[in-house]
Symmetry: C2
Subunit: 186 residues, 2 copies
């Protein structure tokens, strides 16, 4: 079940470095792409940074709508994550082509892709120089969600191997998280 | 043995989301802190982004020297990684206090912390607004290195469980990478 994540703790959804799906929507058009290059930027209000290349359809929709969603895919979605990162939404709706189901964001219009372990709905923090010079988009997280099977009480608790996060290596290769190391009791 | 990594492939050292140590040096003073909030920003010339909070000693040294190094710690360095993230270099040289050994960077002055699996020497790309408004530093990677036991021919090949990367969850908890998932043959 999708449960809300306290906004000041939403950085924990990205802190360990997962690859995300960036979803976007504007005036009836929508898209989704993969992005390994993302990170938290602040705790409260929570902000994130993500790289969205200049020529992409996602870039067009994000610049038009000033919104996007970072969906954190599950390991069992590795093939899909690779596919949405390998084709362009300009040549057809990826949701239809790939049979991706979703619900609309609760605050933003961008789709929350079904089957993910977490979702961060974001409003673009307008920084035109960042965007143009570095393809770098900053977002304020305005709603955050997790599947309560996999993230509970502010912590990851993956319910199955296929419900872990994906960490992009290169090409079609991803690491899934292994054991949790505890360097201290904090 | 520390071997050079081709600069256009150096993004692969950060692509899967490891926590890094940010090392810095200026006029005889040096420091090292931990940073989960980092990501690649471009391939060639390679650029990275990292968050360095305003009040830190690292911030002072980086702003003075316009340089830093991202050292990618091994899992066996989890306790050290947690410790350097929990104390300030202003209260004493962390290298002495914690017995951290290092060699000087080959292009920058910042220390390359011994025992890490990879190192990215960076020159700050001056963006004062990014730095002041968001604690966000961009760096051009001017030299990159990896331990050839753990990264070979442009790919991670961790030689032992303790030689994997660290992915910060919260507090003193880190994930280490588990198995490699292959979503395609690419």
């Amino acid at each position: 079940m999708r449960i809300p994540v306290d906004l000041p703790k939403s950085y924990r959804l990205l802190n360990h470095g997962p690859t995300v799906l960036v979803s976007s929507a504007h005036e009836g058009r929508k898209n989704v792409m993969a992005a390994a290059w993302n990170m938290p930027l602040d705790f409260d209000p929570p902000k994130i940074a993500v790289v969205i290349a200049g020529e992409t359809f996602t870039r067009e929709l994000v610049e038009a709508s000033h919104e996007f969603c970072l969906c954190v895919p599950a390991a069992e979605m590795a093939a899909l994550t690779y596919k949405v990162g390998s084709i362009s939404g300009r040549s057809g709706d990826k949701f239809e082509t790939l049979g991706i189901t979703y619900t609309k964001g609760t605050v933003v219009e961008a789709p929350l892709v079904d089957g993910c372990v977490a979702w961060l709905e974001c409003r673009v923090i307008s920084e035109p120089h960042f965007q143009q010079a570095y393809d770098l988009f900053l977002g304020e997280v305005v709603a955050a969600w997790a599947d309560d099977r996999d993230f509970r009480e502010g912590r990851w608790a993956f319910s199955a191997p296929g419900r872990r996060t994906l960490h992009h290596v290169s090409g079609g290769a991803f690491f899934a998280p292994g054991e949790l190391l505890q360097a201290s009791e904090d």
